[in-house]
């Protein structure tokens, strides 16, 4: 039993699981929230799903040693592209979705190519594309439609796939989020590509010397994160039957906090998809679950700040635990004399 607990503690997601337990306990014990209502509530799950689809690729980029904050502009870019193409020009919804995903691919390629071709940190590059894309989305919207908010109506199948409310409350994007997490989790932890990501985050030059196509991997990751952000935008446009040029900026910090709470090392080389997943849930519960408590909503940011610090400190000590761990008593091979 103790061994099982200890082996969980050495994993990257240990801090996020403890944070989640801590936050839920805090809400139940001091906020007077009922555990049943909290778990069953749709609000934080919907929030987590939208955030989680962006947080997973942001976490992958962080593991590989990069950062992408342009996602903040790509969520409205995705929903506006869908709404303008489908709602304003009356094209089929399939065209709208394809157009939005193309915008994602294009911006992801720009981010990726600039990152591998220049020595500018990806934080700065994606800050530039973030601001630039905000300008593009606003100008294009005003230029093409004369307004900053466009309505659309999606046909039944699109509504079913991307904008459905399951049981009248849970957005269908929750299923997309879980499926995405399972697939990416498999790729990161079970395939060689995952190993390449960890190696790139550990030491890019050595990874390249070991024959890993670091440039192609970096571009693919930036494309993945940009496409994921536009996907969230598409789902929101179809769900709400309209799109606005604003919004999405909160996602930047929310995603980074979720990923860091989830045990991903900011400098790269360490992390897990389970951690990112749990980190996102924890974040969502703090920011949305607070409505189910008697705690004033305005305190939630304070809780997030404290939680972030505590989680990072925990992650650090668990990482050390993992580093200096040596199994005692257990020997997989017989001992040999030190000097043969």
């Amino acid at each position: 039993m103790m061994d099982a607990i200890k082996s969980v503690l050495r994993r990257p997601e240990a801090g996020s699981i403890l944070s989640l337990i801590g936050v839920v306990l805090f809400f139940v014990l001091f906020g007077g929230a009922s555990l049943g209502t909290l778990v069953g509530a749709a609000s934080w799950v919907n929030f987590a799903a939208n955030l989680g689809i962006v947080a997973i690729p942001v976490g992958l980029l962080m593991i590989s040693g990069e950062l992408d904050i342009s996602i903040g502009a790509l969520i409205p870019a995705g929903s506006m592209t869908t709404a303008i193409l489908t709602g304003y020009y009356g094209l089929p919804i399939g065209v709208g979705i394809a157009g939005a995903l193309t915008v994602g691919v294009a911006v992801g390629l720009v981010n990726g190519l600039l990152t591998i071709r220049t020595s500018v940190p990806s934080l700065i590059i994606t800050l530039a594309t973030l601001v630039a894309m905000q300008g593009v989305v606003l100008s294009a919207s005003v230029l093409l439609t004369g307004t900053a908010s466009v309505a659309l109506t999606a046909p039944g199948w699109a509504k079913f796939l991307f904008g459905q409310l399951i049981g009248g409350s849970h957005q269908v994007i929750i299923i997309w989020w879980i499926a995405f997490a399972v697939i990416i989790g498999f790729v990161l932890h079970k395939t060689r590509y995952g190993n390449w990501l960890f190696a790139m985050g550990g030491d890019r030059v050595s990874a390249r010397n070991a024959g890993i196509p670091t440039d192609r991997m970096t571009i693919a990751l930036f494309v993945l994160s940009a496409v994921s952000a536009t996907f969230v935008g598409i789902c929101q446009a179809i769900l709400f039957n309209s799109a606005q040029v604003s919004g999405g900026m909160n996602f930047i910090f929310n995603a980074i906090v979720s990923v860091v709470v989830g045990g991903v090392l900011l400098t790269g080389g360490f992390g897990s998809v389970v951690g990112i997943f749990v980190g996102t849930i924890t974040f969502a519960i703090v920011s949305q679950g607070i409505y189910f408590t008697q705690i004033d909503r305005n305190w939630s940011n304070l809780i997030i700040g404290v939680m972030l610090l505590v989680a990072v400190l925990m992650n650090q000590s668990f990482r050390d635990l993992a580093l200096y761990f040596r199994p005692r008593g257990k020997r997989s091979l017989p001992r040999e004399p030190a000097n043969p």
């Binding site: 060689r192 190993n195 990874a207 993992a322």
Partner: protein, 281 residues
């Protein structure tokens, strides 16, 4: 021993970066089962020489030969493909990866088929642990341990074992003992010996003369980008080599000065100022 053909040979290699000449007329040869020690102070051109051997830099003029045939490395991976492996000062460079995972970076063993080809953790761990234990590092027994938790010597050993496992014929060790304690350094030296016994050609770069003399068969002293001396085991004493590396008689002179001072001052070593002052002409 001398008549064995050299695996890797440099023939009057020059390297300059723009107007700055870094390597002058370097000629070296490394044979199978032999350790060539490259000695030199900081800034003597050791790293440029290593990078030229490892395919990072192309010589401005001169020739590189492998097994007697002239070769041109297109890049570090080309040199690696031909069996030249470089192990840097801190060995494993992925501190937060497990031993098995870092051992197989880029060439991960997999099992399964199609899109479900998964990384074979068990096999990777077994091979990695066995490879490093074969070099006599028996403290490593769990492939799931993170590389960052190993001692400096163990990391070096892991890196060397990895290079050998993947078919290296020439092992370039860049200051492998520089950051290590006495015991850890002796681990690494033992592994250098073991590599030599297995028939590898080893280029051992160091400025620690004692370590060089423990394992070296052939020595080259590098001063300001040129080979100042080239000799075989037993042809020079430690003092001679140290003096040469430091650029002449300074070391011996300093020692005599300290001894003289101590004799005059009841065994107290001189302060730095005293030495500085008296050293001025």
């Amino acid at each position: 021993m001398n008549d064995k053909p050299a695996i890797l040979e440099l023939k009057s290699v020059n390297k300059s970066f723009g107007p700055i000449d870094v390597l002058h007329d370097i000629s070296l040869r490394v044979r199978a089962g032999e350790v060539l020690c490259l000695l030199g102070d900081n800034g003597a051109g050791k790293s440029t020489l290593i990078k030229t051997l490892a395919g990072v830099h192309k010589p401005t003029s001169g020739q590189i030969l492998m097994d007697g045939q002239p070769v041109t490395f297109t890049g570090p991976s080309d040199a690696q493909g031909r069996g030249i492996a470089t192990v840097h000062q801190f060995g494993g460079t992925f501190p937060l990866m497990s031993i098995g995972r870092s051992f197989f970076v880029g060439v991960e063993p997999t099992k399964g088929w199609g899109p479900f080809k998964i990384y074979d953790r068990k096999r990777a761990n077994e091979i990695a642990v066995k490879a490093v234990r074969d070099f006599g590092i028996t403290r490593i027994d769990d492939g799931d341990r993170l590389v960052g938790g190993l001692s400096g010597g163990e990391r070096q050993s892991l890196a060397i074992a990895r290079a050998v496992y993947f078919g290296a014929r020439v092992l370039i060790l860049d200051e492998p003992t520089a950051a290590l304690g006495v015991k850890q350094a002796s681990h690494v030296l033992r592994i250098v010996n073991e590599s030599k016994k297995r028939g590898l050609a080893v280029v051992f770069i160091t400025h620690q003369v004692m370590h060089a003399m423990t394992v070296g068969d052939h020595f080259a002293v590098l001063i300001r980008g040129a080979i100042a001396d080239d000799f075989r085991k037993g042809q020079r004493s430690r003092e001679e080599i140290t003096d040469l590396m430091a650029g002449g008689e300074t070391m011996a002179g300093l020692e005599a000065q300290v001894e003289g001072y101590m004799a005059e001052h009841e065994g107290h070593p001189p302060s730095f100022q005293v030495l500085e002052g008296s050293a001025a002409p």
